[in-house]
Structure formats: C-alpha cells, structure tokens
C-alpha cells in the first residue's frame, strides 16, 4: 500500500458521512481532523468510540458536523467540550446520547455482520428513552420476565484514527487499543495516519501481530508525524495538556474558537503547503 498525503487522505471523506473516531486518549487523529476542518466538510455525523473529545469538539465548532452519537464529549479535567455544549444549547447539533458499552456493542454487531446485539443494564436510563430505534425484548432464554436491550449495529462509513506505524502492506499497529480494531472492522472504510512506515510484514511476526489491524480493513494511509497532537500516543508521547486547557478556554466563545482555528488549524495549511 502506498501512502498518500494528509490532505489526500482527508479528501476521501465525503459530506454527510458517518465517521467513527476514538477519544483523546486512544490514538486520536488530531492532524487528520485538522485537515477535515480545512476541507470545509459539511453534514458529518460523528460516532465517539465510545466517547470523544477535542476532535469532535473541533468538527462541531467548525460547522462540519450535524450529529454525534457518543457516551460523552469530554476534554478530561477541562470538562465538557465547549463548542459541543454551545451547539447543544443552540440546538445546532443532533445528539444521540449513548453509554460506552452500547457503542462498543453496536460496533461489535457490525463487526460480526449481525443487525443487533443485546446488552445488559441501561433499562431505566433516559438514554434509552431517547432512542426509539432501540428495542427492549423479553429474553427468550429466560423462564421468568427478563427484559433486555437490543441495540442496532453501527456501520460507520469511515473509521479514522492515528497509529504508531504501518507496514508496506497497510497493516497498522494499534497495540492494546483493540477497540480501534473493532471500529475498523465495523466501518466500510478506514483512513489512518501513522507516525512512520516500517519495513516488512508485521503480521508475520508473532510478537507484533497481536497489536496489528490487518491491511484488509485499511483503505488509505498518510504519514503524519506527531499526528495525534494535541492528544498523546501510547508510550510515544504525552497529550499536550497545556494546549488542550488553552483550547478549552479559547473555545468558550465563538470568537475565541475562530481565532484558535485561524492560528492552529488553517495556519497549518499554509505551513504544510509551503
């Protein structure tokens, strides 16, 4: 698999697509999200796997996203994503509130090719009350009354994430973040940025293989050094907490967010094109 540029990777995503992406602490694709904002996409529907943070807040604030299904939009100690909260207050984002294991389960359903999967719990939560598309059935294996939730499969159009490395066949190393494997299995297409390309076939190495997502799931790869920023990447680098904290402050207002975009997102375009 030959790599393409970050902007070419972003160009694969289409308006209105259903996009799955990981939270800030799990191989978040910061550089790719910046490129998506620069593309000026519209109508994206986001899925936090199972929550989201900076990446979703940016896409929502920039007007790229019209909906988000997630168990939270959190900047960690910096609280709720500010543009997400503002969009909720303004009614400009459709929020499909979920709970973490529902999203894992819905992606596992797509991974297995089944239309739904059951999950314990959730009954009695208002999260359920606002999801008329979910079903509660009587457990057919129980002798007594035993209601149980069925959630429909989520099949994203695109899974996007940033990983440590890929090999020349497009196999991608995500380490222990197996939820990214499930996300990639469930999605129709996976677009991946990596720190670097490595020689050889990682799937041939019994030690490395367990942390690999097979290239069969990967549509295209771009090299983006430090591409998780401002999020961190496994044991390679830490999150830039100061930056996220500054973002949280700036993004409290529309104007502050615009300044942020001009400086950190659109500014990057000129830099990378130079």
């Amino acid at each position: 698999m030959t790599t393409i540029s970050l902007e070419a990777l972003a160009a694969r995503v289409t308006d209105g697509a259903l996009i799955a992406l990981p939270p800030d602490d799990s191989l978040s694709p910061g550089a790719l999200v910046h490129a998506l904002v620069r593309r000026g996409l519209r109508g994206l529907r986001l899925v936090g796997v199972p929550t989201s943070g900076y990446a979703s807040d940016l896409l929502i604030g920039a007007g790229c996203a019209v909906a988000i299904e997630t168990a939270a939009v959190s900047l960690g100690e910096a609280g709720t994503g500010p543009r997400f909260a503002a969009a909720v207050a303004a009614g400009t984002i459709r929020v499909l509130d979920a709970t973490c294991p529902v999203i894992h389960t819905a992606l596992q359903a797509a991974e297995k090719g089944v239309p739904f999967m059951p999950l314990r719990g959730v009954l009695g939560s208002d999260v359920l009350g606002h999801r008329p598309e979910w079903h509660v059935i009587a457990n057919p294996f129980a002798a007594d009354d035993d209601p149980i939730l069925l959630v429909p499969a989520i099949t994203p159009d695109f899974a996007i994430f940033h990983a440590s490395c890929a090999d020349e066949e497009g196999n991608v190393w995500v380490g222990r973040r197996r939820e990214l494997a499930t996300m990639a299995h469930a999605a129709k297409h996976s677009l991946v940025t990596v720190e670097r390309i490595v020689k050889g076939r990682m799937l041939d190495d019994e030690k490395l293989a367990p942390g690999v997502i097979s290239g069969v799931y990967v549509d295209a790869i771009a090299v983006a050094e430090h591409g998780a920023w401002p999020a961190g990447l496994l044991d390679e680098y830490d999150a830039d907490r100061a930056h996220i904290s500054a973002y949280a402050k700036a993004a409290r207002t529309e104007a502050g967010f615009s300044d942020y975009l001009a400086q950190h997102v659109h500014g990057q375009k000129a830099k990378s094109a130079a």
Partner: protein, 258 residues
C-alpha cells in the same frame, strides 16, 4: 516528621471512600475499577494499595500501561462477567432515589447546562455489586429531589437485571448511606452541622439520631496521600494534585498499573 497542613476536604472524601471500601458488612472488594475523571476514588484505591491491601485495581484513566489488553470494552466486559466488585460514579445531579444525571440540565440533551455525557454509567451502575457515589460539591443544585435526566437509575423494578445499587454517597460535607430506597445521613465532616448539610441539600434523606462526625484520615494515611499516592496520580490528575496537594507534574509521569 509530622505534616502540619490542615486536612483538605478532598482528603476527607478520600478517607471516607476508603472506609466504605473496607466496610466488613458489604460484599467483598477483590477487584475495584475506577473510571475516567475520578481522582477521589483513584486516590482512595491507591491509598489502600500503598497500605498493602490485597486488591486488584483497574484504573481507566491511563494512556499507557493499565490493566487491559482487550481495548476499551474490557472494563465493561469484566463488569458484565461479574468480575468488578466496586465501581464509582458521580453526576452533575444526584437525587433522592440515587439516580444520577451526567447528561445535562434543562431540556434533553441539556440545553441549559450540558455535562460531558453518561459514559458507562447506565451499564456499570447495574452490573456492579457495589457503587460508591462521590461528588465534592455538596449544594442544592447538585443534590436535587429529582434529576432533570437519568443517566443511570438508582432503583430498578424487580424484574430488571441488576447486581447491586449505590452503597453510599460521599460529598464535601458528609457521607450518606443508601439503603436500597433512600439516603440516610451517616456522618458529617468537621466544620459542618446538620443544618449546614440540610440547607445545602435539595434531595430528601433520613437523619437518624446521633449522626457522628466523619472519621478523619489518620496521620499515616495523610502521609501516604501527600507522598506516594500523589506521586502515582500526578500523571493522570495533574490539576487535582495541584489543587489539593500543591504539587506540579514536572516531567510527564505515566506510572504503570500496580
């Protein structure tokens, strides 16, 4: 070497959580999991580890290391299997039936104040034998008679699958026990009175005669908290460590699961 700094309110909360975990009348605590954004429970668990208690501790909020190899779903699978004995939940609102609201206030999905979201609460609250609720802010806007929205219910109908309920609610002013249907005031922290608790609480609860003062952390516990426990937490909760213990994370510290 004696530490003359006054006991911070967070240290009272941590000590209270420790007492609840060790409660000999509660189901066993062999494996405790701590979710995201939970510095007080995390500190309580680290304190027990540093005191040498034999318990398995799974902390979610770690970018590297950590107890899991199956990705983000392993915590929920573990809980589904019945392998997590204690979990911790908080909420933007908590009400008299131990319902928690992590979604927001105003119209759904939170047009007045939007909280981050429900995370795994709607599952974990029902899959875990013991849940300890914690919330540092004890005010009438947090402890409400009825939450605007239920992220996870405190009480379920008998036919609904559920392994346990809230054991207690620990706040910045007091500890409430939950008896399955209602909160009962169990102890009040120093500086608080029955009246100060009452005037800052909008949820109903029972006040028994003779409510004791909350037992403070011991000198040994304080020393552990301010030293080795803080060391462990600097990497994942730098703001909390700065606020409570005045410590700055100098170098990135990502200590491993222990």
């Amino acid at each position: 070497m004696s530490d003359e700094r006054p006991i911070a309110i967070q240290e009272f909360l941590i000590a209270s959580v420790v007492r609840l975990i060790l409660d000999p009348n509660a189901p066993p605590a062999r494996h405790i999991a701590v979710g995201m954004a939970s510095p007080i429970p995390a500190a309580a668990c680290w304190l027990l580890k540093k005191q040498g208690y034999d318990l398995r501790l799974s902390l979610l909020q770690r970018q590297t290391g950590g107890p899991f190899s199956e990705g983000g779903r392993e915590l929920f699978d573990l809980a589904g299997q019945g392998r997590i004995d204690i979990f911790f939940l908080s909420g933007g609102q908590i009400d008299s039936e131990a319902n928690i609201n992590m979604v927001g206030t105003g119209e759904w999905p939170g047009d007045k104040v939007r909280f981050p979201g429900s995370f795994g609460s709607a599952f974990m609250y029902m899959a875990t034998p013991r849940t300890i609720l914690f919330r540092e802010e004890h005010s009438a806007r947090v402890l409400v008679e009825k939450v605007d929205h239920i992220s996870a219910p405190g009480i379920s109908q008998p036919e609904v699958w559920r392994r346990g309920q809230a054991q207690a609610l620990v706040t910045g002013r007091c500890v409430f026990r939950f008896d399955g249907t209602r909160f009962i005031l169990a102890s009040i922290h120093p500086g608080e009175t029955l009246e100060s608790v009452d005037s800052n609480t909008a949820m109903s609860y029972l006040t028994p005669p003779n409510v004791p003062q909350t037992e403070p952390p011991s000198a040994e516990e304080l020393a552990l908290l301010r030293g080795p426990v803080c060391d462990e937490m600097l990497g994942t909760y730098p703001d909390f460590c700065r606020r409570v213990w005045g410590r700055e994370a100098t170098t990135p510290q990502e200590t491993m699961f222990a």
